[in-house]
Symmetry: C2
DNA sequence: CTAATTTGGTCTCTTAACGCAACTTTATTT
DNA sequence: AAATAAAGTTGCGTTAAGAGACCAAATTAG
């Protein structure tokens, strides 16, 4: 299939997807956010083939999303930890989770109830906000400057 | 055995990725948000093979992200329009775009400057907020509902 | 009316990626 | 010294992606 690569695309979404847009990468990042750090744990939790996990971890390390740390403990043992770049995917993951919870709820399970440690209250739905902090939709935005032809500037 | 499917996964992120987590789907949704509606336009803008585009559009329609509308104009002509479910991916796409702009900026190009139509001001970075509206990170959240700390909760 | 064009696909074929399982390596525990 | 564990690597079969040719309905051109 020779999956297309967009390393040099002028679209930052395409470039982002190039780094975390494959099937497993975001799930690996997700589990890393929940505290998973070791190869075997990723493998068991995700049910991913070891060679694929190898490949994805290496790619995520190459892209600076994870860092590989030798913790020299109990034999050859490494940890894969999120970098700041990786932790910065938090809004992406949460937005995706909330979208999934809203539109594809599991029939027999309540969605994860994520709460703020400081307040104990549930977190808010992730939303796009204007400068005043009011939530806005795709219809409320336009592209300033260039990049998108004028005919495309009125959003869907 | 080809790509694993997680239709019945108890993880809403996995289920979400099952619908829009492949390489092209989110890019199609992105272009739909910028106003693209017709088959040929998607094809030309994305440089995607027609059979793949067919498949992705059909899948997005099946999943309720797009709807196919016969606008009976200039020959056999359809439009693929975002549903509410599709438009609801706006925070995901914007979060991904901002992440890409921040961490993988194009060397020779300024990122898209998205602005609010009402105020003319740039939109804010997408962030996860607690009940008070304060931004929080992955380190500030825990999973409520059981005694299992987030770090051990892999069903997420 | 007929021919060319546009739109939206389908078909075939090659190649690349996925997944499993078996094997390897290094280090640790018994 | 043998067994276990972690972290891969290799080989192989299956599947899906991608390019490009082909197809069909409606439309416009001539």
């Amino acid at each position: 299939m020779a999956r297309k690569r967009f390393d040099d695309s002028n679209c930052s979404v395409a470039r982002a997807l190039n780094q975390v847009g494959d099937w497993w990468s975001l799930l690996i990042v997700l589990h890393a956010m929940y505290g998973t750090r070791r190869f075997v744990d990723f493998q068991q939790e995700l049910g991913i083939a070891k060679n694929i996990l190898c490949d994805r971890l290496a790619r995520l390390v190459d892209n600076g999303v994870l860092k590989k740390v030798d913790v020299g403990e109990h034999g050859s043992r490494f940890e894969y930890r999120l970098t700041e770049k990786g932790r910065d995917l938090f809004p992406v993951v949460i937005a995706l989770r909330q979208w999934g919870d809203k539109w594809n709820p599991a029939p027999d399970e309540t969605p994860l109830d994520l709460r703020d440690k400081a307040t104990g209250q549930p977190i808010q739905p992730v939303q796009v906000q204007n400068a005043e902090g009011d939530p806005i939709t795709v219809r409320d935005v336009f592209v300033s400057g260039d990049g998108i032809p004028a005919s495309k500037k009125d959003s869907a």
